[in-house]
Subunit: 305 residues, 2 copies
């Protein structure tokens, strides 16, 4: 079994996790959770998004939040954006990195951005030029890569076409996202192998939701295909707007536990990560879809007896 | 990615799923769920156990339940046993197959059977002789293979020693069980490869709990190692006595969904399997740890839009 020695985790709880929560966190609560994340060794954090406050009210204060980010060595923060306006808000807020997002599927892209994927990529030109000119690191996130709630299965050719357009514009850091929780390990392995063959100079990250219980199996498949960077959300926040009650993003603590058990380095302290998860649950006033927060670590169970 | 074309599922909901439930099902409810399982194509069913009613009261009526099993072509039923007394109860109840169980770890075996694994295997001689003489098919289930709540990690050598003793006694159909939900995919892959190398004439089944969210990732690892038979429980019943509130066995519908999405045959109708899961939840009056019962199939989500 071909597995990496080390992986990188991007904590996307502050953005993908909190964006659809009914409980709106205060600025101080958001900042506290980011502080706890960084303390736990989760030094790559997607802190929020710069989108219309009307569309996603929970993210309206991302600009102010940026002023409260812990300035720790090695910490990397980014904000999610759709366009130049978002990038400029991120820049003004002091961020050194942003994530430009697009959907691979036509249906989702039209619904989300009111543009076809092809038109959306063209509109990225000015964003990329601005980022380059102003020294802001830009990565791309491609949504609905493994399935779309509108179009269903998204053929690899459709995905590859969007990736090629992004590559042509100079993007070399891309995240493939299973927005709808429709990915399966076989597909993840195949897509991961193929994108690396087609675009060997791109740095890849995978973003899974655990909607159908396949989150960690999909990570395993991605790892076996050579991918070493993954998005997760504290306490398994995230949910799926298309399936109310379903699980959210992969829980950060679940992935860290899996890696610890398999001897794969993450740089994250699992105990601190678990404390972070409990604090998230305390603030949102409920539980989501973390396994480790319910079961504890393997070693905890053994200690009890 | 090396994957099988087809796998076999053993539905263990009636035994491992229901045994620790607070709600005690009536005989009729138990029989109804087995009927629905068989109707869904889950023709291999562990119907209950023949153990002390004091130890596990929910299984006290397994003898009577056997009289209510649907007599369908291809259906295979078995009961879990610890000793000759259990086997004889199974025989009297009309079962053609039983599963003899033992723990790989010393601590768990002593706590559960009041015997060391070595002594327990010796006591199996009479069980195996009786089964052979009376034409009852016997498979073995080895608990705590991947970790023990008392002993912690169980070295492969300890597992192999118990497997060898069972092999010497003539057993050729063994289930490796992750009783405590401590298995990880790397370990599953390695153990699965090694047991097949050591005992190529044994037919293997893997039994996972989803305690730490790794159930399906562990199945994936087992499949890649060439194992094609897995235990699951309807609606994800099962729980973990050492971690209250944790997930149970892998949910049958979650594994069937994963296989469907990956093009692996199970012989199970996912829609009927989902209906079975909802009926289980209706009877127990709550939800456990099924993903598909919350999220629906991928195709359902697409249809809604």
């Amino acid at each position: 079994m071909n597995l990496p020695k080390k992986i990188t985790i991007w904590e996307v709880g502050p953005r993908d996790g909190l964006q659809n929560e009914k409980v709106h966190l205060t600025l101080e609560q958001k900042a506290e959770l980011i502080q706890l994340s960084v303390d736990a060794g989760l030094k790559n954090v997607e802190v929020g998004s710069f989108v219309s406050p009307k569309a996603i009210p929970t993210m309206a204060d991302t600009d102010q939040l940026c002023a409260l980010l812990p300035q720790v060595e090695g910490a990397k923060y980014r904000g999610l954006i759709f366009n130049l306006k978002g990038l400029q808000r991120g820049e003004k807020a002091g961020l050194k990195a942003c994530e430009l997002t697009i959907s691979a599927s036509r249906g989702h892209c039209l619904a989300n951005m009111n543009k076809t994927p092809e038109d959306a990529v063209q509109s990225f030109k000015e964003v990329i030029e601005y980022a380059n000119a102003n020294n802001i690191y830009l990565n791309g996130a491609v949504a609905t890569v493994f399935g779309c709630s509108i179009d269903g299965k998204v053929p690899f050719e459709q995905v590859a076409s969007v990736l090629k357009a992004l590559h042509t514009l100079g993007m070399r850091d891309l995240t493939l996202a299973d927005t709808t929780g429709m990915a399966n390990p076989k597909q993840v392995y195949e897509y991961s192998c193929r994108v690396q063959e087609l675009f060997p100079d791109i740095k890849w990250t995978l973003h899974f939701h655990n909607t159908r219980g396949l989150g960690l199996a999909n990570v395993l498949a991605g790892m076996q295909a050579g991918i070493t960077s993954f998005d997760t959300a504290y306490a398994g926040l995230g949910g799926c707007p298309f399936a109310p009650g379903a699980s959210g993003n992969i829980a950060t603590e679940d992935l860290v536990n899996m890696c610890n058990e398999m001897g794969i380095e993450t740089g994250v302290d699992l105990d601190k990560c678990i404390k972070l998860g409990y604090r998230v649950e305390e603030i949102i006033g409920g539980t989501r879809s973390s396994s480790i927060l319910r079961a504890g670590k393997c070693s905890d169970i053994v200690k009890k007896h």
